[in-house]
Symmetry: C2
Subunit: 215 residues, 2 copies
């Protein structure tokens, strides 16, 4: 599946503001999200599997790749399109070996060294941040737009900016070299997730168009 990172939704079904996570996901897909990552940190895995199967069908209908956070076995079980792994998770080369050459494998990388290591290990894209302060991931260290720019320049891989990104600051991330923006609460906690996704998509599309004109 081709990789369009413009608006990358990280979905934790435990954090959708009390609403059905599938409804939030579908609203976000209607609004123009281009990737969905399923993250599940607590609770029974069986519940994630049931729920993930429904999410996979939804993503297929919208032709949007579904990635699983960290667990390659869950990605295999769900026939998801790939995994996203952190620096302390399953190594990307192991994920590649388990999931095969066509899987999408993303790696969190906050420094040029991590970016180059992930590229050498066969990653398809990088998740880079936290660009801005965020309440979704406590203890996340800030790298700012300058850190994002540094990582984006250090790799040939597309980079998705994460951490406190919203429709107002998304353009700055694209200008700093990101191929897209990843969000959690900017969509899942929004009063209208579809409108929130659409606003992000518009901001990213406009910034990408402007970058192409400048380039």
């Amino acid at each position: 599946m081709s990789l369009d990172l413009r608006v990358y939704l990280v979905l934790d079904p435990a954090h959708t503001g009390g609403r059905s996570p599938l409804e939030v996901a579908e609203a976000a897909l209607r609004g123009g999200v281009t990737v969905v990552q399923l993250r599940w940190k607590v609770g029974p895995l069986r519940e994630m599997l049931r729920w993930g199967a429904a999410l996979r069908e939804l993503c297929r209908r919208y032709r949007v790749p579904l990635l699983i956070n960290d667990r390659a076995d869950v990605a295999l079980a769900l026939e998801a399109d790939g995994v996203h792994v952190g620096q302390e998770d399953l190594p990307p080369e192991v994920a590649r070996r388990l999931l095969g050459p066509r899987a999408l494998i993303g790696v969190s990388a906050r420094t040029p060294e991590q970016a180059q290591a992930a590229e050498a290990a066969g990653a398809d894209y990088l998740g880079t941040g936290s660009v801005f302060p965020t309440g979704s991931k406590e203890g996340a260290r800030l790298i700012g737009l300058e850190g994002l720019r540094t990582v984006a320049r250090a790799t040939r891989l597309p980079v998705v900016a994460i951490g406190g990104v919203n429709a107002e600051n998304a353009a700055a991330c694209i200008q700093a070299g990101a191929a897209g923006v990843a969000v959690i609460s900017a969509i899942t906690q929004a009063p209208d997730p579809e409108a929130a996704a659409r606003a992000l998509r518009r901001a990213v599309d406009e910034a990408l168009a402007a970058r192409r004109l400048e380039g």
Copy 2:
């Protein structure tokens, strides 16, 4: 790899009484442990992978299977012999699909219904408990020796008794139909893990011999 469940060590490297988990594992293997399960609930996965690779080599030297708790991807990454899954973990049929026909797959089953479902799903053995009260797993519900007997009678699969088992009560588990006993703290928190493993092995071997004579 053949399945000898007589003394089944569940090893959580975070709970070895401040001692090197590899040293505790090797002492337990010298003492006669016949299966090792690696359980890892907190901390970076990369650390488990480094540590698990050393444990796998150790288990191979002793010709004892190494199973991974819950994560089939970690079992694949470590080339472990299989996985053990709970009722809320990865379904055994999914583990079988991911790991192949030769992998060892164990399932926690505390009722005849769970035992029969696990058998139908292709499990190789069952872990059944908690037989006795235990401090290692808080909130574990007791089934007692009667519950163990009920499960063992309901399935053709070998059953390993877990929960508060020690050298004193191991024989009662075998008499109730278990093929072996699984322990955590009885070995890992023992002043002398090798002696603790040896005492468990002796108790199980004597009880199995007595059962054969009676049978």
